[in-house]
């Protein structure tokens, strides 16, 4: 029962994380230039983006912790996964991609978004640079989410199903 709950929380938090990642990339980033053009962007940057980022970054952390806990307790082993050993190789690739994505969230996206949104002080040049770094890190995560999801699904089936 413990493993079912942990796996459930891992997937639930993952849906929140990746769902918000796709919202940022497919909706907000596309709508923002239009909102700026008709002076309605302030509502997004002041009210929506900070709240979405709050759920986004903490869901990312919960997803990783629950995934790591599940790997260890289910018998796969965190070490086997990250060393891509035997049947743990597929889920291990997913785990590596998820870990890179978590790093991007907490080290690149969130600190730079704080400058963009005015949560920490920054001049215009610093804001422009921060916006570019945060954008590319977010797009990198969107790109990585495709193989990450593929290997999470493949990895969880790899113990019983053929890979080709």
């Amino acid at each position: 029962m413990e493993l079912i709950i942990v796996r459930w929380l891992h997937i639930l938090a993952g849906i929140i994380w990746i769902g918000l990642l796709y919202y940022f990339n497919f909706v907000q980033a596309v709508a923002m230039p239009k909102a700026k053009a008709d002076n309605t962007a302030a509502g997004i940057t002041k009210h929506i983006a900070p709240l979405a980022l709050l759920w986004f970054r903490w869901a990312a952390l919960v997803t990783w912790i629950m995934g790591a806990y599940y790997l260890e307790r289910s018998g796969v082993g965190i070490g086997n996964a990250f060393l891509l050993k035997g049947p743990a190789a597929a889920i291990g690739i997913g785990a590596w991609l998820g870990t890179i994505m978590l790093f991007n969230v907490w080290v690149l996206i969130w600190p730079n978004q704080k400058k963009v949104l005015g949560i920490v002080p920054a001049d215009d040049a610093a804001k422009a640079k921060a916006a570019r770094v945060a954008f590319l890190a977010s797009r990198t995560n969107t790109m990585l989410s495709l193989p990450m999801l593929f290997f999470m699904i493949t990895g969880s089936a790899a113990h019983g199903l053929p890979l080709m």
Partner: protein, 35 residues
Amino acid sequence: MKTPLDSIAGTIITGLILTVILYFFLVNFLVKTAA
């Protein structure tokens, strides 16, 4: 400097290509090595 990640289409195509590359890495190197 523009990159493929500047567009949504470029992001998705890059992700699909990376998925294929990693899949063949898995089946040709990791799984065969383990077998």
